[in-house]
Subunit: 208 residues, 2 copies
Amino acid sequence: MKDFSLYVITGEQFYPHRHYLEVIEEAIQGGADMVQLREKKKTKRELLDMARQLKALCDRYKVPFIVNDHVDIALAVDADGVHLGQDDLPLEEARKILGPDKIIGISTHNLEEAKRAEEGGADYIGVGPVFPTNTKEDVVDPVGLEYVRQVVEHIRIPFVAIGGIKLHNVDQVLKAGAKRICIVSAIVGAENVKEAACAFARKLETVR
Amino acid sequence: MKDFSLYVITGEQFYPHRHYLEVIEEAIQGGADMVQLREKKKTKRELLDMARQLKALCDRYKVPFIVNDHVDIALAVDADGVHLGQDDLPLEEARKILGPDKIIGISTHNLEEAKRAEEGGADYIGVGPVFPTNTKEDVVDPVGLEYVRQVVEHIRIPFVAIGGIKLHNVDQVLKAGAKRICIVSAIVGAENVKEAACAFARKLETVR
Ligand code: NI
């Protein structure tokens, strides 16, 4: 897997008057180097169309494109990988379907889940929610920076901190040891998406 | 595709105090010869578990097992096929993922959709809802028996009439030309599931 540091996720509720392709392109131009399609209220057919368009965009910028949850849609558009929650298809099933070369990321909320993902062959894990967040409908209690520190100490595969990370609290996350962060509303919901992405990218440069 | 005539679909809301495996097994014993897993409120992981169990059950009875909507779950459990609505993954994408040997069924509500499915290589189509139904959340207006007659006249691939079919109205459906019917609540929600299936199977024998 090509390494990444600034991972952005779609969220149509954050840019109701803009087209997702424009928003994500600006995020990439600002420095986002991995993109995930995550929309919980779309039909499969709508998701397929979005996935196809985003895959073409990401290919142009040579940025990996990841599909949340839907392994079938990832297959259909030849996405670079999938991101799976603890209630989604298990890692081993997704790996069987996608083969060894696709990226599989797993959301984790504690060290036990992180270790299981690592042992199961995940390419990266999500670590969070670090802070309270209103992005997901099924809100999980924040796990805090302590879980980030545990992962730094005990997990060897790449991890990305996620959940409520904003410009005003990102320093704490980086100080806890994160080298990759996942941002939703603070980038795609920003007034100037490119500048917002750029501001996070500059923060990340300080820890590379 | 092995032919079928009595297609049953799961629907946990119809047997809240019973286990789905027991209910579906009784339906098969009564004469159901195709089974579909359709649950709209389960996580992928719950669906995967159900799919695995139902596949094993159906294999024992040599009855094809079909997964609604989720092509990835169908792959994971090596189901015999998928059933796709008009908002699900399109036929051509599902075919690419599943290959030529898996069954793909498509829900249709008018002749245009039916023809598109036939031309696209569907193995069978669903034709309905024939009568009003409360099985699906996203309720489609009933298309009536007239659409069944149109399909009999214009479509050559197998079709299965679906939607609100009960013992008291099934004769009309068969008279309109259907030789395969899909039943949910009138079988899986019956007090005696096996007898209910058997009653429909006997009706179908009169048109074979
Ligand atoms: Ni659907």
